[in-house]
């Protein structure tokens, strides 16, 4: 499946991915100014830039083939779409028990405690149906969206 791959060599640590992730999942869909100025309680970013200068990279759900979060979820809210491979959390049913956080080997699931507590995670912008917002707005191609990591594919 297509995934987002981070290339730390080229991550400039600007966090535009986080900013655009927030906007992409806010009620003001991709409108940065409204998201940050009008939404008093904007969503948490589902992508996380990890930084220890000079190294940085963005990390989000890897949509594991054998996703442990889907198996550990106590309510069956976390599911992997058999067609697309995308792991999504059905937030209606999520009770915020954080078992997914316990098992996610990437630490890619965030606690979103704005309303009723839910686990928030990357959905590959599946509702937009195109390139995830983080990849689209990465200024330095440090995020690649593809079947496999760019440089592995290139090495073939």
């Amino acid at each position: 499946m297509k995934r987002v791959y981070a290339r730390e060599e080229y991550c400039v640590g600007c966090k535009l991915c986080e900013i655009h992730c927030i906007a992409a999942h806010s009620k003001y869909k991709n409108d940065l100014i409204k998201t940050f100025k009008k939404d008093t309680n904007p969503p948490v970013s589902r992508i996380l830039v990890e930084e220890n200068k000079p190294v940085s990279f963005a990390l989000q759900c890897r949509h594991c083939d054998d996703a442990p979060c889907t198996k550990a979820c106590i309510v069956g809210a976390m599911q992997k779409d058999p067609e697309t491979g995308i792991v999504t959390n059905e937030e209606d049913r999520c009770v915020g028990c954080w078992t997914c956080i316990l098992v996610c080997p990437y630490g890619a699931i965030q606690r979103d405690e704005r309303g009723h507590k839910v686990a928030s995670k990357c959905d590959l912008c599946s509702e937009n149906g195109k390139v995830p917002a983080c990849v689209e707005h990465c200024p330095n191609r440090a995020l690649e969206y593809g079947e496999e990591p760019f440089y592995l594919a290139k090495g073939k």
């Binding site: 190294v55 940085s56 594991c64 083939d65 069956g76 209606d92 009770v95 316990l102 080997p105």
Partner: protein, 421 residues
């Protein structure tokens, strides 16, 4: 091919999904003594507190059985397994034949002997029906005594407190949550619970439940006694091996299974709380009554039953739980057992913040995260993959410990993998 599954919780559902990954057509019969559509057992305390409505308790959606071509026999109790004739025997003596059988009967409450257990308003706390029974009688202003300060006991205490019940918890151990917390962490949790009005009696146990027909109180071995309208017995659970006790299926503390989740008898598989599987932290067979383990075993069993050879390498204790807004995640060995263990601790009790990591031979074998639980799964994966952390031990406790702190090679090898790390 005819699959029979006894049970209707995580392991049973995992098995259905495992079978259906491989075999889309052959019939699956699912038998459960509970009359309900599969529901999430851990949610019962939420249900009690009214945080989750009954229809949101479902572990899988309403159309789950239909979609997966599962014939259900809900509210039907299995009494025995006849491995010779390859059939299960029902309470009404009917027999259901199987080609492949999964036993996923879960656990039953462990109820220590004590006087007065037969009185009304003495409850256990693991099934929907337990909650429904409590809901029938509970009233604001009631007093409740909960026997056991484990996960179930404290969940019951939280649920009842939320209903306006005055709760006292009695625990034989010296601390709350003795199975998943050390003394320091338990102290923080206890203090937090006490702020919510819950009282604790530690290092003691109940001598007798008092009252006439109905519970009126409990007397403790330490001489104290408490008035009570409700008593919840939550000392622990044990594998529900009742139906196999007359069979050839090997049982130790639970049903013994191998990496394929096979029992000692051909074509009979077992998964979940009823089993005794491999604990990779302790490196021995143990009963691990936790949901992720149940699902994984169930799925593995299902895959193998349908002919796709699959291995579950074993699990280990891990829990994510929270009480009154204090989340905690713990896994593996949480207390140093001898001088071979190395313990890393960071604690700010006044903020309810506690982080402890246990290492053995530079491999993480357990941890406790209190309050700041974010990204705990990274540490869980270090346990699971037995990563040597010698090179980055000092950053394990760091706030926001993450992939950036892993050596570049390890980090890249994990991040570049699409699948599970």
């Amino acid at each position: 091919m005819n699959y029979v599954i006894i049970g209707n919780s995580a392991a049973a559902i995992g098995a259905v999904e495992g079978i259906r990954q491989v075999d889309k057509t052959n019939p699956i019969v699912l038998i459960s003594d509970e009359p309900y559509h599969t529901y999430s057992r851990p949610l019962i305390s939420y249900y009690l507190a009214g945080k989750v409505a009954e229809d949101k308790m479902l572990y899988r959606k309403h159309d789950f059985y239909e979609k997966n071509k599962v014939t259900t026999m809900l509210g039907t109790k299995v009494v025995a397994v006849d491995t010779g004739n390859k059939e299960v025997v029902l309470e009404n003596d009917e027999k259901v034949p199987y080609d492949k059988l999964l036993i996923a009967t879960g656990s039953v409450p462990f109820i220590p002997p004590m006087a007065g257990l037969d009185k009304n308003n003495v409850f256990t706390f693991i099934k929907m029906d337990d909650i429904k029974a409590i809901k029938e009688v509970v009233m604001v202003g009631n007093k409740a005594v909960i026997i056991g300060a484990g996960l179930i006991g404290l969940k019951a205490a939280e649920g009842l407190t939320n209903l306006g019940v005055d709760v006292t918890v009695v625990e034989l151990a010296n601390r709350v949550l003795p199975a998943i917390l050390d003394e320091d962490a338990a102290g923080i949790v206890q203090a937090h619970l006490e702020k919510q009005g819950i009282k604790f009696e530690l290092n003691t146990s109940v001598e007798a439940i008092t009252g006439s027909e109905k519970v009126e109180g409990v007397s403790l071995k330490n001489g104290k006694s408490y008035a009570a309208d409700i008593v919840v017995v939550a000392v622990g659970v044990r594998p529900n091996t009742e139906i196999v006790k007359d069979s050839q299926i090997a049982v130790s503390r639970g049903i013994v299974i191998n990496d394929y989740c096979q029992t000692s008898i051909d074509d009979v598989y077992a998964a979940g709380d009823v089993t005794e599987g491999y604990d990779i932290v302790y490196a021995q067979q143990r009963v691990l009554p936790i949901l992720p383990n149940a699902y994984n075993q169930g799925e593995t069993a299902g895959l193998n039953m349908a002919g796709k050879i699959s291995i579950f390498n074993g699990g280990f204790a891990m829990n994510s739980i929270g009480f009154f807004g204090l989340p905690m995640i713990t896994a593996g060995i949480i207390k140093s057992e001898d001088e071979n263990y190395e313990v890393l601790v960071k604690s700010v009790p006044e903020q309810g913040y506690y982080k402890k990591i246990i290492l053995k031979d530079n491999v993480v074998v357990g941890y406790i995260y209190l309050n700041k639980v974010d990204r705990a799964g990274i540490v869980t994966s270090l346990i699971k993959d037995k990563i040597n952390v010698a090179d980055f031990k000092e950053v394990l406790l760091k706030d926001g410990f993450g992939y950036i702190d892993l050596p570049q090679e390890l980090r890249k090898s994990r991040l570049l993998r699409g699948g599970i790390a």
